[in-house]
Symmetry: C3
Subunit: 208 residues, 3 copies
Amino acid sequence: MVTQAVQIAPAMISWLDLFGTAVFAASGALAAAHRQQTLVTFSFFALITGVGGGTVRDLLIGAPVFWVQDWRFAATCLVTAGLVWVTPRTVWNARALDWFDAVGIAIYAVFGTWKSLTLGVPLLPAMMMGVITACVGRIIRDVLAGEPSILLKPEIYVTAAALASGLFGLFIYLSMPVLPAAGISALAGFALRAMAIWKGWAIPAYRG
Amino acid sequence: MVTQAVQIAPAMISWLDLFGTAVFAASGALAAAHRQQTLVTFSFFALITGVGGGTVRDLLIGAPVFWVQDWRFAATCLVTAGLVWVTPRTVWNARALDWFDAVGIAIYAVFGTWKSLTLGVPLLPAMMMGVITACVGRIIRDVLAGEPSILLKPEIYVTAAALASGLFGLFIYLSMPVLPAAGISALAGFALRAMAIWKGWAIPAYRG
Amino acid sequence: MVTQAVQIAPAMISWLDLFGTAVFAASGALAAAHRQQTLVTFSFFALITGVGGGTVRDLLIGAPVFWVQDWRFAATCLVTAGLVWVTPRTVWNARALDWFDAVGIAIYAVFGTWKSLTLGVPLLPAMMMGVITACVGRIIRDVLAGEPSILLKPEIYVTAAALASGLFGLFIYLSMPVLPAAGISALAGFALRAMAIWKGWAIPAYRG
């Protein structure tokens, strides 16, 4: 019954998805820009960050990989990489990008959970698919760039995705209608990440 | 015929699998503890180490990913991460964990080969699936933690998994019944890993 | 119609594929030799470099993973690793290997695009599958070895694969017969990579 509760307008979903891809792709291309990389690396980083998390999710849940079926996602990543490449670096404000990225995390955490539930994945793994969709592209990019992964920092990042995914899964389990459930969950995840960007919120580390 | 030779009680397999997952998840969570990480990182590391190898195996052999279908595996990893988190570090004995991990390697090397054979994978790739099941979760965790991978150390680790997988594949090829074949192979892999932990056994490096 | 235009003799393809696997596997085993690793690491690196890119491609396009179905690929990687292991290092000429690797890149970039098109992948993602087939095995190996990825160097490497894949996709789109399209594209990719090896060609980095 969880499955039936989560059908919504596919066209809206598709545009939201392209928007999220573009935001993440821009963050990937900017990471390449900070490392003074070439256009090829810009494109690779834009793709990995833009579609990496959703790719791992689709492989895990056994769905056809979205961007292999629909060329608009790859095109979005490449165009974004090109736009970042031709733009002087002074135009980009690291803080502004963090805010875009925060929007992407919130959207994708909910979207990944929703897509997994529609395909019959049980609740707990579906929540995890939301976190994977939101965070794994960034994690793969960190590894390829030889940087300490966001996973190893106390900064609230994965946690914000987990909040959004967890709330959405809970709301659907409690039979809340999909749109309000998605809106509230995404807002909560965004708000938590916003506090990390704005106030430097972090979560406590293990002290043994 | 190899396929038919390897059917055994699914319930026993399932519990053995949950036990192996918990052991590996504990080793992942402890790796996070040694790095003074947060509970979120504990959970991520527990999941990656606990189910990472089996996930790669299932993707490669085209099986539904086990922990996406059955929520008990993810729950086991999260509960294990939580237990490690609330336990003072002095309780954990690094050596004790190595021994648990050695049990996990031996079980998973045999289990991964067995599962692949039941799905019709040819003998040589099936043996490799055993090694992948036993070792890839640990390798991914090493990469995410920014540590030199176990793959680059002369210490016997992957080799023990290869012994267990190779023997099991050979025994099945020679039509030995599954349970003794699995028992002997797992014991041999465990014994070899035990010598590495106990006596520091290693294999020779290339000298060119 | 793109799909029908790209059927060619499967036996030839299969041997070409085994040859490409051996070349890449040798490059992986040599990377292990340079690090004074063990035979187990030689085998792992040979496998990852030899079949890694094609594995990611097959997972993304939803094809059965080639080397899991056909044991000859894994055998080729293991035998290659063994041959490199027993050979004194002085026999290997780093330059010679770069040339073999360049042949592998050109063949695999075209092959990956071709295989994806035959399975109905749209043109743009199919071109990307060519690049992934040619480069991802090397990228994974770099990450496991804890080395800066080829992705982060201005050296022309991924770019040569992109040229071969892009040209082949374009030619097929323009309804050129497959064999000349494949030959010209592979030669162009090889020539570009050759200039990088021979003359040190690189592409410009972002200056902001």
